[in-house]
Amino acid sequence: MAGTRRRPARGEGTAWAGELRSLWTAPVWGATATVVVVALALVARLWIAGASYGAVDPSVAALTSLPAALRAAAWQFATLLGLAFTGVVVATSLGQTLEGGTWSALRLFENRVGVLWARKAGAVLVLSLAAQIATGVLLWLATSALARLWRVRPRVAAPGFDGGAVHAPPPVALESATWGQAAGAIAGALLAQLLFIALAGCAAALLRSVIGTLALGVGPLLVTAPLVLLPAAPFLPHRWIADLLNLPAEAQYQLYLWNQAPPDPARLTGGLALVGGAALAAVAAWAGLRSERALRPVD
């Protein structure tokens, strides 16, 4: 039967579902739970600290609306927490497959490396999207509960020396977001996640181990993060991400953990640079995964 192609026993949908199912592991659950808990803890700490003074940070107070909460979750997943999350997930999926020697078995069923790589990256991206939405909803529920439990006490205007009221500043405006802004932030976060996944994929193809994927997938971006304050900033992915997401300076260490780039947002440039960087890293990972080396167990 030369020239005929064997039909796959299972459909593509089953393979995608299998990839998602393979992410159902304790480290992935642990990483997801840690990201959610850290995001909630940052917000709750600020709310409780500020509520008694009647001055909750506007970026935190805005989270009582669902779009703002979803945008905040997207910012978290596009920055340091998301980077660590992606590193753990890619290391558990692709890194473990290469280290455990199951990559060669996978290649027996599907010889197109691009398809295998796309399935793995797609599964991580879907998980990231689900985690983002879950974090956003939990942030919204938590801040709504906090708004009821720790009401923001308005400051009492003390009487002036001559008996008149002291001038009180007007209440700060909520930095709310529209649904469009929330969708844009989620799309931008997924693009940033794609870069993180591609870089971790490169690391996995290079070092063929779980820890190697984690170390080289997360380490270089982490170590070079402070360079964003130098003139080399326009050439760094950290700056591209900050530009694309238009990260506000006042929400740093509250709604995202990232080095603050100088305020010069160029969203289109940042987005294009991010797409280019992610595509380059994804192609490099594909080339690394195609090599014979990926079929051999690591030393």
């Binding site: 480290p27 280290e99 820890i211």
Partner: protein, 317 residues
């Protein structure tokens, strides 16, 4: 045992992951040294400029004679405040100047290596080198060569410890070269002291740091051998590291816990403005640090005894 240690060390030192982690640490250490020197030099210059300007600050033409008299009366208070700030900045400058000293750079690096960044690297390397043997299936041929798992794990601990010492030397040399060739001219700082005192401080710091690294390698290897899965070993190791750091500030007890004892042993001190260590301020104690290390040593010993007993029965089922 010697052959086992030599083989493990040779294997580890040449491995791409160990080289990549070392490169990341050297780059990070160099960046920290650069920022630290730049900030310290800037702060010292700034506060000196303010002190020099202070006597003439009341001479403004817009000041009325009363305002000028009040200003002159307050000058000594302002000067005292600025001098306190200057003392703090000078202490930070002396500390940062270690990175510009050919010997002191080793002390600068050992503090960074024994704080969060260095200990995280040890956890990673142990997770790869020990837990990875089970996940890759390569533990079987290793046990055919050396059937006593305890000896194998001890050899891996020594190999990881030697890797960290090599990294300390390389990173210290790179930091010293940067400080001497560029830092000294660009960022003048107060002298870290006479050669004798720097040698003595560095010697003590390196010995203490080597002991801390050996203890950390022993804990990381034991955890990895217990969990036998690289990612779980890494996450558990990082959790232990976070606990060690957070508990070191517990009032009263913190100084006797691993984090507090480690910080005092290596000499992180109360100088927080220099990026030579990443830790939190620990609880103070008057008890000698060598005494406070004993509970940590006992904990590590117990962990290894328990691991040994656990390993004897665990694979028989």
């Amino acid at each position: 045992m010697n052959r086992l240690v030599r083989a493990e060390t040779r294997r580890l030192l040449r491995h791409p992951l160990a080289l990549a982690l070392a490169a990341l640490f050297v780059f990070g250490s160099l960046y920290c040294a650069w920022v630290s020197e730049r900030m310290a030099a800037h702060n010292i210059t700034q506060v000196q400029d303010n002190l020099d300007f202070l006597p003439s600050s009341c001479e403004s033409r817009q000041n009325t004679p009363e305002q000028k008299a009040r200003c002159l009366a307050d000058v000594h208070l302002q000067a005292a405040g600025l001098e306190r700030i200057q003392d703090r900045f000078t202490a930070e400058g002396v500390r940062a100047a270690q990175a510009q000293h050919p010997v002191g750079a080793l002390l600068w690096t050992v503090r960074l290596l024994t704080s969060i960044p260095g200990l995280a690297l040890l956890v990673m390397l142990a997770a790869f080198s020990v837990a990875g043997e089970w996940s890759r299936g390569s533990i079987v041929p290793l046990l055919l060569y050396e059937s006593r798992l305890g000896r194998l794990l001890a050899a891996k601990t020594v190999a990881i410890w030697l890797w960290s010492l090599v990294l300390l030397c390389v990173s210290g040399a790179v930091t010293a070269a940067f400080g001497m060739l560029y830092g000294r001219d660009a960022y003048p700082l107060p002298s870290p002291g006479s050669l004798g005192s720097v040698l003595a401080d560095t010697g003590l710091g390196v010995v203490a740091g080597a002991a801390v690294l050996a203890g950390a390698a022993a804990v990381a290897v034991a955890l990895a051998a217990l969990l036998r899965q690289p990612m779980r070993a890494f996450l558990a190791g990082m959790l232990v590291l976070v606990l060690v750091v957070r508990t070191s500030a517990a009032p009263g007890l913190g100084a006797w816990l691993p984090g507090g004892a480690l910080a005092d042993l290596v000499g992180f001190g109360a100088v927080d403005g220099v990026w030579d260590h990443f830790w939190i301020s620990t609880a103070p104690s008057t008890a000698p640090v060598l005494l406070r290390v004993l509970p940590t040593l006992a904990l590590i010993g117990l962990l290894w005894v328990w691991l040994d007993r656990h390993n004897r029965t665990r694979d028989r089922a």
